[in-house]
């Protein structure tokens, strides 16, 4: 059972298509990637019957013609495996002894195997910290004096079962370094809050990303940790599976609409192939306060993706599903600039992203905006029309000009 299988490439590469053919594409898209309006979502922490409790969260989102599997785990570094299948009956099976062995390939399998339309993974490998005190150039690289990074594989994480909330379909991986000589995380933690959705909507908390039943939201929050510098900037390193020889593409989508995230006119996307395919989507903004107001927003800069042949540390769940595939790509997300605001304000930093398949959700102008515009442009036109008709058809009056003086 524990044999190395042929790595699954998921959605193959095909020529980029114009957006006008979107609907055509959609109908031609494999069932698993077409997207569904609503899904039956279940969260399950899969227990290891023999050993100590391990964090392996399985989110299963069942639609009428497809099923999405998100497997989140803090075995090794925090990671997620995303699998889209074209049947509503696909299941995940876990072989714990294989998963925990040094060669975990085959430890995670989705059945039936030929139903898999797309699969990929994200691994959150390291947390960097820079002291930007003496950095005046906001675009400087690195953004300050680097401290030794935290390797997230060497962290201890809480039991996700404790924070599992079936009502909101969410749970939180909360961790701190195992070796923490200066006690930076004595009162602090790095939290990965995972939330799934059974339908589309928008959370009340900024950045208010529009989610659908095909997506899953991750909120990363660094809270209460003592920074090592006066003006510490943090950077999260994320690794992902490449498509063949190439890295996934990074798209910066500029929009006119900042209604849901004031003053943020950009939406960043990581696409694993030509649409529809898997995507990661986020706004380039993080927050230094829990309320997430505009005054606490800080820019989130993304680096270009670069191939990493031997990235460290390894994620057991990724290797368990994909085998010994090594075409990994990595990128960095840097939160804030030396000019501030920053983590140092309140020892708080949060950032959110969506992970999903199909077409990434796109904001449209809200009904309120459209309504106001319709009234604002319609009213003067109508009055002019009505008044003009009245003046043309109504009785004409002339009055003698009276001088003002």
């Amino acid at each position: 059972m524990c044999s190395c299988e042929e790595p699954r490439r998921g959605w193959g590469r095909c020529a980029p298509s114009p957006m006008l053919l979107l609907s055509l594409l959609l109908s031609a898209a494999p069932l698993g990637l077409r997207g569904e309006d609503a899904r039956q979502v279940s969260l399950e922490v899969i227990p290891d019957p023999t050993g100590p409790p391990e964090n392996l969260l399985h989110i299963r989102a069942v639609g009428s013609n497809s099923t999405l599997h998100y497997v989140w785990s803090s075995l090794g570094p925090p990671a997620v495996v995303l699998v889209a299948t074209n049947t509503s009956h696909s299941t995940l099976s876990v072989n714990w002894s294989c998963l925990l062995s040094p060669e975990p390939a085959g430890g995670l399998v989705v059945h039936p195997e030929d139903s898999v339309q797309f699969s990929s993974a994200l691994v959150f490998t390291r947390l960097f910290e820079f002291d930007s005190t003496n950095t005046s150039d906001e675009a400087a690289e690195p953004p300050g004096k680097p401290y030794p990074p935290y390797s997230l594989a060497e962290w201890s994480w809480n039991n996700v079962t404790d924070s599992l909330d079936p009502a909101t379909l969410s749970t939180t991986f909360r961790g701190h370094p195992i070796h923490d000589p200066i006690g930076a995380f004595a009162n602090g933690s790095l939290a990965f809050r995972v939330q799934a959705f059974s339908g589309s909507g928008r959370p009340a908390q900024p950045p208010r990303l529009l989610h659908t039943a095909d997506t899953c939201q991750l909120e990363v929050a660094l809270v209460g940790a003592v920074p090592r510098g006066n003006r510490s900037l943090f950077r999260l390193e994320v690794a992902t599976l490449g498509q063949g020889p190439d890295c996934p593409s990074l798209r910066e989508h500029h929009s006119i609409d900042d209604e849901y995230a004031p003053a943020v006119f950009q939406l960043d996307q990581l696409l694993w192939g030509s649409l529809p395919s898997g995507f990661m989507q986020w706004r380039p903004v993080a927050f230094s306060q829990k309320q997430g107001g505009r005054e606490s927003s800080l820019p989130c800069q993304v680096s270009p993706l670069y191939p990493t042949l031997a990235y460290l540390p390894q994620s057991p769940i990724v290797r368990a599903f994909f085998g010994s595939q090594n075409n990994f790509c990595a990128f960095n997300l840097t939160f804030g600039t030396s000019a501030g605001p920053g983590y140092w304000d309140q020892h708080y930093l949060s950032w959110s992203m969506l992970l999903g398949v199909g077409f990434p959700p796109m904001d449209a102008l809200s009904p309120l905006v459209l309504g106001i515009m319709a009234v604002a442009l319609g009213a003067p036109g109508l009055v002019l029309l009505a008044g003009g008709l009245f003046l043309l058809l109504g009785p004409k009056r002339y009055s003698e000009y009276q001088p003002i003086n």
Partner: protein
């Protein structure tokens, strides 16, 4: 009258000393250029004109200091946009009332000379308090500074105009008004492009954020001191001219009777609505514009400052040209309609496209200049002359009221709903203005009013009545 005599005597006692010290050019002039010292000569009037232009420079320079330093103010004082916009609201509040009394104070209480000096002092003190608020990291003190600054600001503009009338009536008056307006725009433009740079230079000295802000604003206060010096010099020269030429002290001639308000006609109220709704969509936008251009269009801070000042840059040369155009053609309502529609288009471009904002801002600059030239003279067509002072005072007053309220609303919208919604709010305001223009046109047509006559029609009517 007795009061005024006293003021004049007081001025006589103090004036020469102070101005002599402050303006060496005026003192050195007699030996080299006698014409410069003769109040009846053009050269002397040009000197006075120069002083008049710089009289308003400080107040226009400092009015938009918050806009030029929006990011810095919000960061250093740790305020959100709503509180930031209070800086503009506090400027407008005193003027809701003062617009009625500025003329009265100048004519009956202070006299033009002391009035100008006192208003200049208010501006200086206001700006210094504003700066001190930064240095002491006390935002309420900054707000108070803007309030004091506001007390002086608009009234000083009235005083400036009164001086212009008193020195140039029947000579180069329109040119002088034009030049004063241009100088005001230059002040605003210089501010937009200079303050950010100045802040970065002060920042390099390495003090805390709010201290840097305070010092930068304090340097800005130098322009107010310059204005005060001009006010003192003008007072001296005006007083000297009175002695030599036996000319009277200038008066605004404004008579404000609040009871006149009930006699205001429907077209006048429509003009008020046009005015309020239009300016509400221009000034608060400029106040918030700098960050808009950096966030939405990715401009650098310098470039954003430049584009934010383009409305003023265009307005400086275009105001006289449009003034001439409207004078020659008449048809004021049509011109106002054009201006409002262009502004609407400009805001729509800014809101719904990612086109280069230079296009939209140039349109806004042109329409803003055109509107000022076509709208304000219309008041004179619908109000008997004896009520003109009240009408203009009322118009400025509700304009300031509108600005104060809309500044706060704009800040709140921006904090909670973002720039797109803010632009939609501005579009709604301009659209309301457009609605009022359309109504004004219809009412004017229906009543057979004179607002939309061409220049020739006006001329013919004038001739037929004089015959």
């Amino acid at each position: 009258m007795e009061e005024e005599d006293e003021e004049a005597r007081g001025l006589l006692a103090n004036g020469p000393d102070e101005t002599g010290r402050d303006t060496p050019a005026a003192l050195a002039a007699p030996e080299t250029l006698p014409a410069l010292c003769d109040p009846s000569r053009l050269a002397h009037r040009l000197l006075v004109l120069l002083l008049m232009c710089f009289l308003g420079f400080g107040s226009y320079f400092c009015y938009d200091n918050p806009a030029a330093l929006q990011t810095q103010v919000k960061r250093d004082m740790q305020v959100n946009t709503t509180k930031f916009m209070l800086l503009y609201a506090w400027y407008s509040w005193p003027n809701v009332v003062l617009c009625f009394f500025g003329g009265f104070l100048i004519d009956r209480v202070f006299g033009i000379r002391w009035g100008t000096i006192i208003f200049s002092c208010f501006i200086c003190i206001g700006q210094v308090v504003f700066a001190l608020g930064g240095i002491f990291n006390a935002y309420w003190l900054m707000e108070f500074g803007r309030f004091v600054f506001g007390i002086g600001g608009e009234s000083l503009a009235v005083a400036q105009n009164t001086y212009a009338v008193s020195w140039f009536k029947g000579k180069e008056l329109n040119l002088v008004f034009g030049l004063q307006l241009s100088m005001a725009r230059v002040g605003s433009t210089v501010n937009m492009n200079l303050m950010g740079w100045l802040y970065s230079k002060v920042e390099a000295l390495g003090s805390a954020g709010h201290t840097t802000l305070g010092i930068t604003l304090m340097i800005g206060a130098i322009t107010c001191i310059l204005s005060l010096i001009c006010a003192l010099a003008l007072a001296y020269l005006d007083q000297r001219a009175e002695r030599i030429l036996h000319k009277e002290q200038g008066k605004t001639g404004e008579v404000i009777k609040l009871t006149d308000v009930k006699d205001f006609s429907l077209p006048l109220w429509l003009i008020f609505i046009i005015c309020v709704c239009y300016y509400v969509a221009v000034f608060p936008f400029i106040g918030l514009g700098k960050v808009f251009f950096t966030e939405k269009f990715g401009f650098s801070s310098q470039a954003a400052g430049a584009i934010n000042s383009v409305v003023y840059v265009i307005s400086a040369p275009m105001s006289p040209i449009f003034g001439l155009l409207v004078d020659k053609t008449g048809k004021n309502i049509i011109w106002v309609l054009c201006a409002v529609v262009t502004t609407l288009a400009s805001h729509m471009l800014l809101a719904f496209t990612l086109w280069n904002p230079w296009i939209a801002m140039c349109l806004l600059g042109l329409s803003y200049s055109l509107l000022a030239c076509a709208l304000w003279p219309m008041v004179a067509f619908v109000v008997p002359e004896h009520q003109l002072g009240t009408a203009y005072g009322f118009m400025q007053s509700i304009q300031n009221l509108g600005l104060a309220i809309s500044s706060i609303i704009a800040g709140m919208i921006l904090d909670t709903r973002g720039y797109l919604f803010l632009e939609v709010f501005f579009i709604a305001c301009v659209s309301l203005s457009l609605l009022a223009v359309v109504f004004l046109y219809l009412v004017n047509r229906a009543q057979g009013g004179n607002l939309n006559y061409s220049a020739r029609q006006r001329e013919e009517i004038k001739v037929s009545h004089s015959e």
